[in-house]
Amino acid sequence: MFIHFLLSRLLSALLVIFGVILIVFLLIHLVPGDPIEVMLGDSPTMADREQLRQSLGLDQPILTQFFQYFNRLLHFDLGESIHSGRKISEILFPRIWPTVYLTLASLFVAIVIAFPLGIMSALNKNTMIDKMAMGISLIGISIPNFLMGPLLILIFSILLGILPVNGNDSISSIVLPALTLGTALAAILSRMIRASLLETMTMDYVRTAKAKGLSKYQIIYKHTLRNALLPVVTIIGLQFGALLGGAVITEMIFSWPGLGQLTIESIQKRDYPVVQACMLLITTTYVLVNTLTDLAYAALDPRIRLDAKS
């Protein structure tokens, strides 16, 4: 039965990735006017234009273009950069690790902040502590990262002078970007943790545990927390997309040499094949993470599989 669920999730992930490829492919046709003119800038020769048009396959019918594009992707050929002429995979590859590093660090920040905050407010429901914690998390949700970034720079780099403003040369340089990207997720997560804990606390088995005379500590750590964590793990997986999207802006603020910065730089240089490749890579990663989360969740909690089947 799990095999059935696994196959159906994988199949639908593949379909979604195919759709994503189609949309990313169509993006280049959204460029107003002739994309070739836009990409080459001022005064290209006729020969240059035709050469680029041919190398991008833009002289073919659109359906043929798509199948060529798709075929190249199947062979892991992302094409070449218009700006530098280098293979896109070569440009992309060194950018992957910084983004992974930043995302994981932010996830760490989010978890470290959210768990104590969420658990604390759930345990002290409707008290001053709860209200303050949830107030902080509401502010966290409402501060966009392009404001958080400069504010953190102002406090930690300029006023206190303890952390570097940008770059990626020392361990301390990850701190501000990870805080910037992680706080919003921390805010959302802490609310989810609180809600999930409160819901679990009303369950029958918690009442039974109380009736058995278990200590508060045992009830929380052995009965409530473990069960409440399952949905939270899913949320983390699902929020991964927001993290990847936010990474684009965060990388720009801190000149972090990751995929997000590459995306924006390529947009500015009108190097559209690189933009397409970045979009594809980021979105496919997101789809895969989502699918894995779903599968992990289903493996841990059989009710999901039964649900999906009916």
Binding site: L15, L27, S142, G149, I235, G246, V248, I267, I282, D294
Partner: protein
């Protein structure tokens, strides 16, 4: 599940946030009447800090070109209002219609639309908006198009889920048995029942859109200079963080207050309009309730 004050227990917080939102509306409505010049350059006042010595115009200081921060904030308020409400409304219409078609007609259309929704949801929202407005070129119209392309999905998903369950209910079958037309069934027996979750989605979308517009402008893909947006003000200001932090703090504060207020009002609305019928879906956390089909 939620622990926010419902609307009938009005708290000082709710009043404060409503006040902020109402001032935002009023300022936008009144800006055509106020004679203000956000693009006027005063070379002698470059980077002046906020003070009372330069009249109302200089209350919040001047930016790197000697333009009044207050006036630029007001003009930015107008932009973010236009974009947020414009996009939220257009996306609401498109998304609701698509969701209705999907759930009400069903069959092949439903399959196609569900796939389409899945595909659009696969993109991290802001990333697609960044790519779209980057490729189409900057400007308020392209920003709005890009955000609409990203924004309709939430409404479509929400509407579809709601209509799927409501169209099975007895009152719809009775209406059909009595010979009501599809238009009548949709407009009188289905739409009124899904309107509250849509309103809530709309409210939270406003918060997300204010941030998204500012984010795009921050990246230089949205509103372009000399036109001011809170986003491009933060971007320009962050170059002067060391000497004039007010250039970032002022637009940041506006952004924060508006988004905070919208979120808070959204929470209050959600508690007020029956939360049980709600498939709560929000751009940031929208997959947190409905499992995939």
């Amino acid at each position: 599940m939620q622990n926010h004050k419902s609307m009938d227990k009005r708290t000082p917080g709710t009043y404060l946030f409503s006040f902020i939102l109402i001032s935002w509306f009023l300022l936008v409505l009144l800006t055509p009447l106020l004679s203000f010049t956000p693009n006027n350059v005063h070379l002698e006042k470059i980077l002046l800090t906020p003070s009372f010595h330069h009249g109302l115009e200089g209350l919040l200081g001047y930016d790197d070109l000697g333009r009044s921060v207050l006036e630029r904030l007001l003009s930015g308020a107008k932009i973010s209002f236009l974009v947020a409400f414009g996009v939220a409304f257009i996306a609401l219409c498109i998304g609701t219609i698509i969701g209705l078609i999907s759930a009400y007609i069903g069959g092949v259309w439903d399959h196609i639309i569900v796939r389409l929704i899945d595909i659009f949801m696969a993109f991290p929202g802001i990333l697609l908006a960044i790519a779209l407005s980057g490729l189409m070129g900057p400007g308020i119209d392209n920003v709005m198009i890009a955000l609409c392309v990203v924004g309709w999905v939430g409404y479509a998903r929400l509407t579809r889920a709601q209509v799927l369950s409501i169209k099975q209910r007895e009152h719809v079958s009775s209406a059909r048995a009595l010979g009501a037309s599809h238009i009548q069934i949709i407009s009188k027996h289905i739409l009124p029942l899904i309107i509250s979750p849509l309103i809530i989605e709309f409210t939270f979308a406003i918060a997300g859109l204010v941030i998204a517009e500012a984010g795009l402008s921050f990246l230089g893909l949205g509103i372009q200079a000399p036109e001011s947006s809170w986003g491009n003000m933060i971007k320009e200001g962050s170059q002067y963080l060391l000497i004039s932090p007010h250039l970032v703090i002022m637009p940041g504060l506006c952004l924060l207050l508006v988004v905070l207020s919208v979120n808070q009002i959204g929470d209050a609305l959600r508690d007020y309009l029956d939360p049980k019928t709600l498939v709560y879906s929000r751009r940031v956390g929208r997959k947190n309730t409905g499992r995939k089909r």
